[in-house]
């Protein structure tokens, strides 16, 4: 069955929506903030991701087809296959995304998407150059094993990517409540991109936010706590090569300085921010530090009263 590539069809819409958001920002800077060098970096990352994808695609499709030979069920292109894969593909995305934030080897491939301090539609295109090399496509092999044909998986991945474009915006605040309850929205995804301690490691959803609600990683946006975007240690470069590779250089340096095999393992597979001397903080440690600080403040104010 020949399925269209949703991304190719969406490119004109991507361009048009970015242009509209830029114009909105001109008249309403609080709703949209564009910096030409930042957007140039994001768009270059998108272009690089697309180019590398052309090379990776054959290999990943071949592996997917190989797994498909051992499929458990014959899903084919029946109507229920489309319905089922919509949920399962999104679940695979949730797994991929959560692991990308919890293990440094995948975080190194994903960090570039979070490296901008700006949050606008161009940020959506700040995509990885190295994800394919470290096997971030592995969760989707589950779909091949279940019995979904490779073109159907690719089609759904395209749909998910297109969906996730429009949620990278500050123009839209909260949406209709039932929609906010089920789907990933700009509000939920702003939280995901925020570095405020209470927002760290939250809202990994692709299309459906239900996975975060089910697995306890959902955090709603708090109007009293505006999102600050980027990464915990902000980078100071608009160079796409630096953006794509800086965490890999960080891993290499940490591994070179590691004192024992456990430290080497943790620098590669442990949580981002892990250090054997406690000189850096993981998200969990940052969240705990903030909770402790707030507890101290509450205790202090109670004592004063």
């Amino acid at each position: 069955m020949n399925l269209p590539d949703p991304v190719t069809f969406a490119i004109p819409a991507f361009i048009l929506l970015i242009a509209i958001e830029v114009v909105v920002g001109r008249f309403s800077p609080k709703k949209s903030n564009y910096e030409a060098r930042d957007s140039a970096a994001s768009l270059s990352m998108g272009l690089g991701n697309f180019s590398i994808g052309l090379i990776n695609f054959g290999l990943v499709a071949a592996i997917s087809n190989w797994v498909y030979q051992y499929r458990l069920f014959e899903m084919g292109y029946h109507w229920y296959a489309f319905l089922l894969i919509f949920f399962l593909e999104d679940f695979c995305y949730y797994i991929f995304h959560r692991w990308s934030h919890e293990h440094r080897i995948w975080w190194a491939a994903h960090i570039n998407h979070h490296s901008s301090q700006y949050y606008n539609l161009s940020t959506a295109l700040r995509q990885t150059w190295t994800g394919g090399l470290v096997g971030t496509w592995v969760p989707w092999l589950l779909l091949s094993l279940i019995g979904f044909p490779t073109p159907l998986i690719i089609f759904l991945k395209g749909i998910s990517l297109v969906y996730q474009f429009w949620i990278h915006t500050e123009v839209i605040q909260k949406m209709w409540r039932p929609f906010e309850y089920i789907f990933n929205t700009p509000s939920h995804h702003r939280v995901h991109h925020a570095i405020n301690p209470k927002y760290l490691d939250a809202n990994y959803a692709g299309v459906l936010i239900i996975w975060d609600r089910m697995f306890g990683s959902f955090v709603p946006e708090d109007e009293n706590e505006p999102c600050r975007y980027g990464i915990v240690k902000q980078i100071a470069s608009f160079n796409p090569i630096v953006i794509a590779l800086h965490e890999w250089v960080g891993i290499a340096n940490d591994v070179r300085r590691a004192k024992n095999p456990k430290a080497i393992f943790m620098h590669i597979f442990g949580p981002p921010g892990w250090s054997d001397d406690g000189s850096r903080l993981t998200s969990k440690m940052i969240k705990k530090r903030e909770t402790d600080r707030l507890s101290r403040l509450i205790t202090k104010s109670e004592t004063q009263n």
């Binding site: 269209p4 590539d5 190719t8 069809f9 361009i15 970015i18 242009a19 830029v22 114009v23 920002g25 001109r26 903030n33 564009y34 910096e35 030409a36 060098r37 930042d38 957007s39 140039a40 768009l43 270059s44 998108g46 272009l47 697309f50 180019s51 052309l54 301090q117 700006y118 161009s122 600050r228 980027g230 902000q234 980078i235 100071a236 470069s237 608009f238 630096v242 953006i243 590779l245 800086h246 250089v249 960080g250 340096n253 903030e290 600080r293």
Partner: protein, 140 residues
């Protein structure tokens, strides 16, 4: 619909260039200009509850050195677009020559910089102490 990569990639690159030009034209130049208030508010969010003891602004207002009441006390703040980036630095990262402060590349994503302090800031006690400590470090 399949477009050959040798057509698609150059076209996409050209579209990116046009898009960036459009963004620059409509959004304009975005460069943060640092002052004491901006740096203090930024530090209050970055380093909650750690008081700022001293602050030095560069002559061009693109950089600031901040001393905090912390075990690693020195922070470099740099304007980055209309955002700010904070780095923890040590005296060994920092070199002074007259009014010029140079800070070595810290890692792959924080390049080396050099800036001048305004003449009046050189009389600031913290600036004097940094310059003296740096001189002693260079002599030893």
């Amino acid at each position: 619909m399949v477009i050959a990569p040798y057509i698609l990639l150059p076209s996409a690159a050209f579209a990116v260039i046009l898009m960036v030009l459009f963004i620059r034209l409509v959004a304009g130049s975005r460069n943060a200009v640092l002052n004491a208030h901006i740096v203090q508010s930024f530090m209050a969010k970055e380093e909650t509850n750690i008081p700022v003891l001293n602050l030095l602004l560069s002559q061009d207002h693109k950089y600031a050195l901040v001393e905090l009441n912390d075990k690693d006390p020195i922070r470099l703040i740099r304007a980055f677009g209309d955002k700010l980036v904070s780095q923890t630095i040590s005296l060994s990262n920092l070199a002074t020559k007259g009014r010029t402060v140079s800070i070595a590349r810290q890692d792959f994503s924080h390049p080396a910089i050099s800036f001048d302090l305004p003449p009046e800031e050189v009389l600031n006690p913290w600036a004097k102490s940094l310059i003296d400590q740096n001189r002693r470090g260079a002599q030893s």
